[in-house]
């Protein structure tokens, strides 16, 4: 009996420890001015945890301990605007499937990870931005005859498990055979090997893969987008102030040239001209 009780206590302690251990630094500490949310944390701790992708060339890619890409540069601009130096950003790798939980649980303060703003997600978190408008497209082999999503009937198309593009294929193009991997890099390998006929996600991500040296000349982006994917910056649902502040920062970045510089240093290297950041399209941060 006694042993049982000890075991139960031990188990409970382990669970509690385990749960607190995966929470991360989740308190939105009150800042000096009593500001809450991401502004408060930036003010009081002078550091931020930002969730980014680690496997998307040109947007967010991890080499060693370094992250680089357009999303990373945008995150640095936002952090700087909040008063946090780039060296004090703790980067955290997120995959498509864990972005909302990371924000909701406070594992990260912000998510800048090719994060499409949509209504379903707005129920759970808040979005600043968009800082870029992408569209879902197809990546196929250079000699492929697929010219758009209509040509996917009976063809195998690959996407990431649980991602927006995967769900769109399931609902809008049910005749396509959907192969889902846990990372886009596996899809690219399967496309190269001919096990799938197309990879689908946002055009800009696909362009990043196609531009990699080891795939030079092997793939092409079809160039017929069939969705609009505004990339936003995710943060806690109740953090309206933080969201508005980030939109201000983006407006400034658009006018003072830092946005263009971020593009030129990353995705712009492929020769693609910098997009215009349309400040009229910025979100209202959840206000009605």
């Amino acid at each position: 009996m006694r042993m049982k009780r000890v075991a139960a206590v031990a188990a409970a302690a382990t669970l509690a420890l385990g749960m607190s251990a995966c929470g991360g630094d989740g308190d939105s500490g009150s800042g000096s001015g009593g500001a809450k949310g991401v502004i408060g944390k930036a003010q009081s701790q002078k550091k931020l945890v930002i969730g980014v992708k680690a496997d998307q060339p040109g947007l967010g890619i991890q080499t060693g301990s370094q992250y680089e890409g357009f999303d990373i540069e945008i995150a640095k601009i936002v952090a700087k605007g909040l008063g946090v130096d780039a060296n004090n950003i703790e980067w955290k790798t997120t995959v498509s499937a864990n972005r909302e939980p990371f924000i909701q649980q406070g594992t990260v303060d912000l998510v800048v990870a090719t994060y499409t703003i949509n209504d379903e997600r707005k129920q759970k978190i808040n979005f600043a931005g968009p800082y870029f408008i992408a569209g879902q497209d197809l990546l196929v082999k250079a000699d492929s005859t697929i010219t758009g999503p209509e040509g996917l009937d009976g063809k195998k198309v690959c996407s990431a498990q649980g991602s927006t593009p995967a769900k769109r294929i399931q609902t809008d193009y049910p005749k396509a055979k959907l192969q889902q991997f846990d990372a886009y890099s596996k899809c690219i390998t399967a496309l190269e090997g001919g096990q799938v006929d197309a990879v689908t996600t946002d055009d800009i991500i696909l362009a990043g893969y196609a531009a990699q040296s080891q795939y030079a000349g092997k793939f092409k982006v079809v160039g017929k987008t069939f969705s609009t994917e505004p990339y936003g910056i995710g943060l806690k649902k109740d953090d309206k102030d933080g969201c508005e502040k980030i939109n201000e920062i983006l407006k400034t970045a658009a006018s003072d040239g830092t946005y263009k510089a971020a593009w030129d240093a990353t995705l712009g290297k492929s020769g693609k001209a910098a997009p215009e950041l349309d400040t009229t399209k910025l979100t209202n941060c959840g206000s009605v």
Binding site: M19, S96, A97, N98, R99, E100, P101, F102, I103, Q104, Q105, K124, K156, Q161, G162, K177, L178, Q179, Q180, F181, D182, K186, T189, A190, G193, G194, Q195
Partner: protein
Amino acid sequence: MHVFADPTNLDAYLSGFLWILKLTGASAVLALVLGVLLAAFRVSPVPVLRGFGAAWVNIFRNTPLTLIIFFCYFGLYSTLGVGLSDDLDLNNFWLGVVGLSVYTAAFVCEAVRSGVNTVPAGQAEAARAIGLTFFQTLRIVILPQAGRAVVAPLGSVLIALCKNATIVGTIGLIEASSVMKQLINDNGDAVIPIFLVFAGTFAAILVPTGYFFGWLANRLAVKR
């Protein structure tokens, strides 16, 4: 429990566990056949067969299952072109079964071989003395006795196999753990309940399995 009140989520949950059960069933049969064969190889008087069995066990028992399953898709299927079905899900399923089977067979082999060692040497000698061949000795005298001794360890192998089946999610089969990830992604506010439901379902399947094998082992034990 609002998450599982949604019929689409409930369907996903059920189909996820259906895949797990299918993977477990198909792989268990294949692994048992393969494993017993490998065990026979390893105790045989033929050096080539012994070497083959030992190599199999050493390779597959010491390679992470994640890598084996990954290789089944990207090595067997991608590079070598071994397609097992025209249907995408079924193809991934059978590739997963291949990976799980070759891996689990190594463990089955070792369990069976340890069972062979519980049979007194006199039994084999007596069998040889009445003129049985090696394979007759194995089939008629040794394996029936060894089999009774390895019921409990094989139960453990089966339980491990069922949990290992979740790894097939990495090659695109939407099994229980992939469903769990998706549900957690869609319901970040209900992570703990979702986790508990999935873990609980595994426990509900596997705890009785464990007891059943314990009971069976007791019943079949050779009383010496």
